[in-house]
Subunit: 371 residues, 4 copies
């Protein structure tokens, strides 16, 4: 029921605003005996999401150094072992500069949460958007990093990987992604792009957008491999239902697709059916994966494939018509340090949400069935 | 946490299989003092979803007569007044014919939940797919009908309407839908189609599909008008996150879009911004609705727009390769009475899910803010 | 969050009023593959709780025949096997006679829920007290019966037993209860009393109460043996916290004790310590059980001991001063068919609540730890 | 579902161990626009619970200075206004001295959570008991302080007050407590004792206990006045059920009573009935309060009265027989700095839990009924 918690048995609660002293999260329900090291296992993911790493993301400079305040036993070599009690993670805010936001304090940025927050709560924290700041997603990435360790522990061989697959109208060729994807390319460009040529084109595209003080949307794909069959539940605990909720909860996301997604509307039953053959080791071998690894809300053992679209940030330099808190007409431009394409940093966030959903479902499935 | 419940303060729990004696649901948390009549306010929506009404939906013949077993005071004229206690709704199954399913008892239909249920639970009820049958959605429609009454009571003027907007590759022209839509057309054809010409074309399309023993996907759009600003919450209680979860939980749905949906990936910040002007009565007037009525997870007062895609049913007459419960290769065709386009009947189900989400958020918002 | 649901992974939702057509419940989260027979495994517990079985309980005559409407596969010999999907249980009401309540329709019975329901909901169902009727507890007993089967499956040798240990000022001698208790006596009297002599004395006591049109309170003890160590959680998921919630939710209960209960206020640390010795098979042997089998919110492997007190029913023949719905002074007597000691029928209900809590915690523990 | 969260709409999540760097909590669902000052409104309650304030509580010296890290707007004069987003409270641990616990690292203190934690998680943090330390209750007090502000805002005139009413066999005379209680005495002694003479006697009693290295149990009473009628729900959301859960979740509590508590077992229906007369202003006037302000799980508008018993701490100087982690017999004494009567510091904790339950139910009631 909590508005700032996610998950059931493996549960993340986040708190904090971009312009307060810190942000953080509490992970409840983590199995005991899971080991991790802060640098390798958490900080590395936070560093991927961290702003200020290229000219294509906000120039806000946060170190995003995470501290573990509870829930583990730390050995002398720095290895943490979870105790089964709540794990509190804490990240200090080091670069607030709230004066940047002074000129938008009384007006509502079109397409931003300014107006709706004001209507909901009757007041709002205009500095950095309060809770609607993308800064909150650092907590998801930190919590998702622990979730990954749980998944690796319970389901050896499992792997979660994400990439940017579209910026504006330019999509990566499908052949470059999916089964053929390798980590060689994805981390050697500014976009988590698995295709060298597309990364080059995006560089030019985004330089234009950035210099114009504009912004552009994007699409992200997250894939989880080697996840066991059986996760999820038939009706309101469907694995894809929880993934849809998870991805749609990321800032600026407007659509979520599983497998073939919106394109299934065009398919025939024959084309859509993922036929099955008896595979090696008695495991079923699916001949295609239109379903994105989920049938009837339950994982099939195929790769779980999820895509989502991120809208362009509403913080742009072109004046837009809007109203202020008194209801009067005005115009607004946003001068803060913002992302020309917020979709880039959504890649590690999407991976984290996938990890959080899967860790929760692994525990729920084990609770009900013992497997 | 419950796998068969949906919502928080306004909460629906459903039970039942298509081949058992009955299906039903319990609605918990309904405000007291809401009035309804079974015929006008519940049965009318069930009748829209009911199978057997045209040659384009399953020929299973269920009366779907709903009984109210608790939670209301019934006056002599048949008006029910809710008491605030749980409302149990009960629908007898009258047309099971489980022999139709005999030939698929041991094999897994490709793209169906057969295989994943078996992997999850170690056993399965092959008759009609057990819980994965679309029959469960009758309970959503019944529960959603009560939710509509709650919304109408708390937010006078609110209206929820849905339509089929795509079958296969044929989409309705955008101008026929959206603000210009009227109920004149939508209920006078077999497809919940707001456009007369498209309905005719779909008739021909689907006759071909039906005669071929095939099936086809579809897309549905659900719109809620006159919903107050302020519903939802910033992070994990986002209104769009809950809508995504709700729609993705409907059988065969593979994608959910809010507002411009996947298309936002292509937009610039300028194009995507819904500019605002001071409107009559001091209410803001939005100049466009790319956001689909939700900003930062909170309703803006604009129409809430949600779309989802439904895959073609996997029950087709063309043989598909699959395996049986022993893991051996086999082929399968499905002879049962099935829908050539399950998306048609998803229209009233999508409306019901929209109603359930909104009723829950109206109560949650009132709980936290008193408004 | 739901007001009519109990438990998390193993979850009971109940519905229905005593004067409607039926009552029932939905059990969600039951593991698949659990077998039961309706007669032996559910009906037998309902029969223990059923009214009209002696002159000391309400003369309302309900057959309380339970029907299983979903969630199982039934074999030809009547054995049900759970499928992992929601189990709906349904009990028709056969003896409503709502005219009995006519004279109390407008006044509030002192110490009854009449007044508080009216204040909460602004209206009330005066027939039989609506949801506050003890009739709802039949659903708990039915759900608890399934929970017992889960416990027996997951924790072989587990046993749950309850007894009445006090009526009015007369308590059973402690030596007759606890470890020495046997089922020989408890089911051969009208009180679930483990002591023959006390049962005789209670017969005389209660005949006096009954003939005077009065009522009297009682205390019940519920013991669970052979429950594994490790169930529960340190803080807000404490096993005793959930037991307290469960027992206090039973109608008319005003206190819950674990182990020595209120008496611990008088103890010294030395007296209260349950010392431990190394026992046979390497299992710890506790030398006493002041803690009632729960330490720090987690089961220790000792017998779990819980007691609760039930107030006398407020339905008595002696006039009591009260007010009516307009706020005017009046007097009231209650002529309906009621229990001189509602505590008697609380014994099977307390057993059911213990079973529901333990089944839920077995699944939650397995989910988090895999054990 | 979360094991470390409490409440539904107003929800507290706590984290931290006594021997880590800090403890803290997150409050989710707080209404916007509630004002508080850290010193007066939070720190003052923490100071009441703080150890080291008299020779009768643990000599551990913690400053317990609370910091607000999110969820408010702070004005120049230090007034915080809640924004409706999660409020993170943080308390640094300043006095760990974990070496004190070295000698009990491998053995299980009888009646302590050592053994059960080890059995649940397969490992344990022996320093200060990990999560089972009473230190966690500082977070409840901090969260409860915010809850008080919510209650005062929504229900003007509401007041929550607690006192110690029993240490060992010595109880305060009933006349000194209840309606006649005044704050004159309760804060001028070391025990939160409302009676001067009893406070003197307890001083002598506890000096004996303390010098003997022993400990003793206690009972606490918490009263909430001027709480509106209508809070709670009929079945599993009963107000008393949630209070029972709340109080039983406090460390070392073994029993919870509402109103007359266990004594109702002895009462007749006539004696137990709280008769009602038409009072001034048309409000009902109850002639007694056996029910403790709750009927059928819903508040009646009378004072809500709750009592609970706290067992003596298991940390004593007299050797007790136990086993170690290998299962071998041993003896143990506990030399750490502990409370001779942990019940004393449970008074502000009990008040906090009462506040948390009431704040949650005020919001839940408003959500469902709009009142």
């Amino acid at each position: 029921m909590s508005h700032n918690s996610f998950g059931h048995l493996f549960r993340l609660t986040t708190w904090g605003e971009s312009h307060g002293p810190a942000i953080g999260c509490v992970i409840d329900g983590c199995p005991p005996g899971i080991t991790f090291r802060v640098g390798n296992d958490i900080q590395s993911f936070l560093d991927k999401r961290r702003p200020g790493q290229s000219r294509f993301v906000t120039q806000r400079r946060e170190l995003d150094l995470v501290k573990v305040l509870s829930g583990t036993l730390e050995s002398n070599d720095g290895t943490h072992t979870t105790t089964g009690t709540p794990i509190a993670l804490h990240i200090d805010n080091t670069d607030q500069r709230s004066k940047d936001y002074g000129n938008i304090a009384q007006s509502f940025r079109p397409d931003h949460a300014d107006y709706t927050y004001f209507k909901k709560y009757g007041l709002r924290d205009h500095r950095g958007g309060g809770r609607s700041s993308a800064r909150e997603t650092a907590c998801r990435v930190a919590g998702g990093a622990i979730a990954r360790r749980v998944i690796e522990h319970l389901s050896p061989g499992a792997r979660i990987r994400g990439a940017l697959v579209q910026i504006g109208t330019r999509k990566i060729p499908a052949a470059q992604w999916g089964g053929n994807w390798s980590s060689d390319h994805i981390n050697d460009n500014d976009f988590f792009c698995p295709d060298v040529d597309t990364a080059k084109a995006w560089t030019e595209d985004l330089d234009r957008v950035r210099k114009a003080g504009s912004s552009v949307g994007a699409a992200i794909e997250i894939i989880a491999d080697n996840i066991p069959a059986g996760l999820g539940a038939p009706i309101y605990g469907k694995l894809d239902s929880d993934l849809a909720s998870a991805m749609m909860s990321i800032n600026a996301v407007k659509a979520v697709e599983i497998g073939d997604g919106m394109a299934v509307a065009e398919l025939s039953g024959e084309a859509n059916a993922d036929e099955i053959r008896s595979g090696p080791n008695g495991q079923p071998q699916f001949l295609s994966n239109h379903a994105g690894g989920i049938l009837g809300g339950i994982s099939s053992g195929q790769s779980i494939i999820c895509r989502f679209a991120v809208k362009p940030t509403s913080s742009i330099l072109t004046p837009r018509r809007t109203i202020d808190e008194t209801g009067a007409d005005t115009e607004i431009i946003t001068k803060g340090r913002h992302d020309p394409c917020v979709g880039i940093r959504a890649v590690p966030v999407g991976e984290a949400m996938m990890a959080l959903v899967l860790a929760d479902h692994l525990l729920r499935h084990r609770g009900q069935t013992g497997r």
